[in-house]
Symmetry: C2
Subunit: 228 residues, 2 copies
């Protein structure tokens, strides 16, 4: 089975956005380590299934990052489940998860499930608004969440999310220094080779999303920047 | 070091309650596997330190179950940190923990820390009131919390708490059936040998508390019931 700990670069595709066959093929064949299907709004079973079917024509590992219960479907290699550590609403920390486990507990294959401890740091992004995240955090707040992810909840992934804006590499690096077991994902605002290379030096895995829909060539260049 | 997974019976001593030297000695020398220091109200650094010093004269492993930050002190073998899974207030799920890690993150010895996923089921008990726990749970709600404790948060301990009333052994047994890694603690209302023996057949570890202060001989008899 795929070892996500080896992943250095992943693309995130939003089921609520259009992508041409040609662009999708270039993404899937880019040499990226995986494709994550996930978005904040407008994620439905229909558009998730459609994207799954299209991605499955390629070899790349394919992950569903669960945004809502309605759009969950079998067929992905892995399922990433966000736990928004800095949400003010415990719905995003424990309640939706409880509902899901209550409903699907006896059919879940836990080997396919990876919990992500999210720390959302860009206050204007859709995910921060939706989850009512407290983005006014100091470095020591973020470090504390990272330590909790690793030691208290033993989450496989800690995800520093600046969705829509490029984050602070020094902060990401400081987080990386305190994590030993938990894998550090960075996502947000990576649009250039230089940014990809810079964040890949700080985090274990970088996530490239929006630029796919803005400039496919720049998106593809981020793979080379990491894999070089 | 002590292996908590071997523990079948523990006593819980409340630092806010009086206990004579003679009774304390009988508790510590009873053959119980450990003594947990913990309570819901009136727990102060002073009464925790006093109890610690008194228990330390004996060989029994000694755990602090953290109720508030002010009363945390070095000197215990282990620290149990409750995460109240069915609290309606995320303070008891993540916020106090974040505050603690922010304050003590760089000096914590994580090998001494054990997270407890609490599920509080007796609605009138002090812990339920304090943490605003939703105790109106069906069996499948409790099972779902147990699965989350094991698979999502990988907690070492899942603690079914009926504090002050004797719980439902069938429910405890059902919970035990879904747990493979996470250790099942049961606490609440154990006052007789028979109850201790019954719950010890369902849970991995039983916690005996209040009866210590009501009838020391009955309390001591619970050890024999489990160790037999």
């Amino acid at each position: 089975m795929y070892d996500i700990r080896q992943w250095r670069h992943v693309f995130k595709l939003d089921p609520n956005k259009e992508i041409s066959e040609e662009h999708l093929e270039r993404i899937c064949e880019s040499g990226t380590d995986a494709v994550i299907v996930g978005g904040t709004d407008g994620v439905t079973l229909e558009n998730v299934l459609e994207l799954l079917a299209r991605i499955r024509r390629f070899q790349v590992p394919c992950v569903l990052e669960i945004s809502n219960l309605e759009s969950v479907t079998p067929g992905f290699d892995f399922y990433f489940i966000p736990m928004v550590l800095n949400s003010r609403d415990k719905k995003w920390i424990i309640d939706l998860h409880h509902e899901a486990v209550k409903q699907f507990g006896d059919i879940i294959n836990w080997d396919e499930i990876f919990m992500e401890g999210y720390c959302i740091l860009h206050k204007d992004c859709k995910a921060a608004v939706l989850t009512d995240a407290n983005t006014e955090l100091q470095e020591d707040d973020v470090i504390a969440y990272a330590l909790m992810a690793e030691h208290m909840y033993r989450l496989p992934i800690f995800y520093v999310e600046y969705s829509g804006s490029y984050g602070n590499p020094q902060l990401v690096q400081r987080v990386k220094q305190v994590l030993k077991q938990t894998q550090l994902f960075y996502g947000g605002g990576i649009k250039t080779e230089k940014q990809a290379a810079e964040m890949a030096q700080c985090a274990d895995t970088i996530v490239v999303g929006n630029v796919i829909y803005e400039d496919i060539n720049k998106a593809l260049a981020t793979v080379k920047a990491v894999k070089r």
